[in-house]
């Protein structure tokens, strides 16, 4: 077999197999960005109303829920700017649901790329999250316009928003990595996650505010606040909409306890990253 007079030892750069991140950060970013922008454009220009549809979906939900909870159910009672709170909650949760549900089958959907070119595998879920993030940013603009028009005043505490968005981004990315790598081997991840996401919608203070739990089931409040989404929603309401609303630290019963939801975010990110990293080399063969 040694028909070639090759000296052992000086073979040069070894070709490593597929990995989660790859060595080249610029290529990673170029790819993730290109895929995300392309996807976004396709949704944008695919229909007559384009972006409006992306906005209309949460707005419709908002309209229905607002009607139900202000007119028929007493959830909006005594809540200042319930409408803004509800819209903001829906927009934040929509991002969470879109990004995580979209990432579940992302590797399988991108099969033709995964099996045909060498690129860091993490690009795929990251691009899905990015696409959802673009949409989220546009929707947030709508929330801000709506908030200002209903009398919410800009305050310095709005500067907390990037921090909250960062935390949300890390959480979403962690879940996206976890789900997308699991889905390659277990196809029932999707229905399971659809149910979980549905449950999370009601378990998070989107349609209600956290004080409502406190009033009816005081002992549950801290439990509900362990959900990172609850922390983000509650704190966003406190910082952006109503300074008199309880902050996340107050609702959970002390800033120290915030370690639990933050811990959940960190753990889901680390776990997701670890699992994705472990699965990355074999994704192409398992599809």
């Amino acid at each position: 077999m040694s028909a070639d007079p090759v000296e052992l030892g000086a073979f040069g750069r070894p070709m490593r197999g597929p990995s989660a991140l790859g060595g080249d950060w610029r290529r990673f970013l170029h790819l993730a960005w290109t895929l995300a922008v392309t996807d976004f454009k396709l949704r944008f220009f695919g229909s007559v109303l384009g972006y409006l549809w992306q906005l209309l979906r949460p707005l419709m939900l908002f309209g229905v829920l607002l009607l139900v909870f202000t007119e028929f159910l007493p959830l909006a009672k005594d809540v200042r700017h319930y409408d803004v709170t509800l819209l903001e909650g829906i927009v934040i949760f929509t991002f969470f649901a879109d990004a995580t549900l979209g990432s579940v089958s992302s590797l399988v959907d991108r099969e033709n790329l995964v099996r045909k070119i060498h690129f860091p595998r993490m690009v795929v879920p990251v691009a899905v999250v990015l696409t959802a993030y673009f949409n989220f940013m546009l929707n947030l603009l709508v929330v801000i316009v709506f908030a200002l028009s209903t009398g919410v005043e800009p305050r310095l505490s709005w500067l907390e928003v990037p921090l909250l968005l960062g935390m949300l981004g890390v959480f979403v990315l962690g879940v996206a990595m976890l789900l997308s790598s699991l889905y390659v081997r277990f196809r029932d991840v999707r229905p399971i996650w659809e149910v979980v996401a549905q449950a999370l919608f009601y378990a998070s203070p989107v349609i209600y505010v956290i004080e409502r739990i406190h009033q009816s089931h005081p002992s549950w409040e801290k439990f509900v606040m362990c959900n990172p989404l609850a922390v983000i929603l509650t704190q966003a309401r406190h910082a952006v909409i109503d300074p008199h609303a309880p902050s996340a630290a107050y609702a959970i019963g002390g800033a120290a306890r915030l370690a639990i939801p933050i811990g959940i975010v960190v753990v889901s990110f680390v776990l997701g990253f670890w699992l994705f990293n472990r699965e990355a080399p074999r994704i192409a063969e398992q599809l």
Binding site: M1, S2, A3, D4, V6, E7, A10, F11, G12, R13, P14, M15, R16, G17, P18, R26, R27, H30, L31, W33, T34, T38, K41, L42, G46, N112, L113, V114, R115, K116, I117, H118, F119, R185, F186, R187, D188, V189, I192, P281, R282, A284, E285
Partner: protein, 415 residues
């Protein structure tokens, strides 16, 4: 890449093995796992590559040849970094681009402009480079009028042209190409060939997976032949092509078929028939253009007077190609007693087209023309060669073209 590549080959494949485990029974759901937690789902191990080693120096056009399932595409994917290897290592010195399929990442709902950028970035260009080279891509593809047309409205020919134009804009030192030539019409293929020639002149290293022996012979400096995941041989394209033909057609048979039809009274029997190469060794495959010999051995069980020995060569489809007999040596072939043996031989230049060829020998009684023994398709041989003319035979011939005092001539011969 770096300039310090002197002496270091462009690609080194060092003892690479790759095994796929294929679930025997697709257990894909958690529910199934939960219901049968202890049932071990069986896995079939498919050894796609077994201890494959070779090196490709810079600037070489290297072919990777093998039948379907021989592991050639797996090898390419390992070199491209799409699959990890289970054992061994692959070393690559230079920028690599992989073309397993034309137009990876193309989206039918986007215009050509966006698709070019998308595809180029997938293949490793930066977004800026991709934008800068867009004009050149479109120019080469001759699609200037259709830049803003959505890809789904492109004809398949335009689609291929666009993809190929992007591909050649990628400035890699090492190109891994998987049968992209299989698509497109003759004009497109010619364009591909031209580009390959240019790349060859630019001293780029090209690894090319194919089972088209014509292009191997036309382009490759060297090639490797894979068979069932193992490296069968490495060497000159011509040798590889011959060997490929042999394993493609040979191997399974080469001997007598079961349940063969046989005619005659069997007062003598054709007990053996075979082909020999020019050195007199038995072969199941013979290269085109070389001398070879067909022989059949006949054992007599009854007395026979001046029998005639003959053979018919026919193509796989049953077309008679050529027949001959001992009539050429005369009618007096002698008297045979029971137990006597005779060997009938036909020597010829092998000018048959590359394919499988069958020999049907027979022995016949002089005068009465009664068959003593006839064994249709008793033995077959694979003629190897890489030139497919489309005919059943490739006679050596001269070709010339005269025009206004100019004359082009060539000798057509496979040796």
């Amino acid at each position: 890449m770096s300039g310090s590549t002197d002496g270091v080959p462009a690609v080194v494949v060092d003892g690479v093995s790759k095994t796929f485990s294929i679930p025997r029974e697709q257990v894909h759901t958690l529910k199934e796992r939960a219901l049968h937690p202890f049932r071990r789902s069986g896995h079939d191990r498919l050894e796609a590559l077994r201890n494959v080693s070779f090196a490709v120096p810079h600037g070489e056009f290297f072919g990777i040849v093998g039948r379907n399932g021989s592991g050639k595409s797996t090898l390419l994917k390992c070199m491209a970094g799409i699959y990890g290897v289970d054992a061994g290592a692959i070393y690559v010195n230079g920028r690599v681009s992989t073309f397993i399929e034309l137009g990876v990442g193309f989206n039918p709902d986007l215009a050509a402009r966006d698709n070019v950028a998308l595809n180029a970035i997938m293949l490793g260009l930066s977004p800026r480079d991709a934008r800068e080279r867009f004009e050149r891509v479109i120019e080469f593809a001759e699609l200037q009028e259709f830049v803003d047309l959505k890809l789904k409205n492109y004809s398949s020919g335009m689609h291929v042209r666009l993809a190929f134009s992007v591909m050649i804009q990628v400035d890699a030192d090492i190109l891994l190409i998987d049968e992209v030539l299989a698509v497109g019409d003759a004009a497109f293929q010619q364009k591909c060939f031209d580009v390959f020639h240019r790349m060859k002149e630019e001293k780029r290293t090209i690894l090319f997976v194919t089972h088209d022996m014509g292009s191997v012979r036309r382009f490759c400096d060297r090639a490797v032949l894979l068979e069932r995941g193992e490296l069968q041989m490495i060497g000159k394209p011509v040798e590889i092509a011959d060997n490929y033909m042999e394993i493609n057609f040979g191997r399974e048979t080469g001997g007598q078929a079961d349940g063969e039809k046989r005619y005659g009274d069997r007062s003598a029997e054709i007990v053996d028939a075979w082909f020999e190469d020019e050195r007199g060794e038995r072969q199941t495959a013979l290269p085109q253009g070389r001398a070879c010999t067909f022989r059949s051995r006949v054992v007599f069980k009854e007395r026979a007077e001046h029998p005639a020995f003959a053979v018919l060569f026919e193509s796989e489809a049953g077309h008679p190609l050529f027949a001959t007999s001992t009539d050429w040596v005369g009618n007096e072939t002698g008297l045979y007693e029971p137990g006597d043996e005779a060997v009938f031989s036909v020597s010829f230049e092998n000018d048959f087209a590359p394919a499988r060829m069958f020999a049907s020998p027979w022995v016949v009684r002089r005068g009465s023309k009664d068959l003593i023994d006839r064994r249709p398709r008793m033995v077959s041989i694979v003629v190897t060669g890489s030139h497919m003319s489309g005919g059943l035979v490739d006679l050596p011939h001269d070709v010339s073209l005269e025009r206004a005092g100019e004359t082009l001539t060539a000798r057509a011969s496979s040796v």
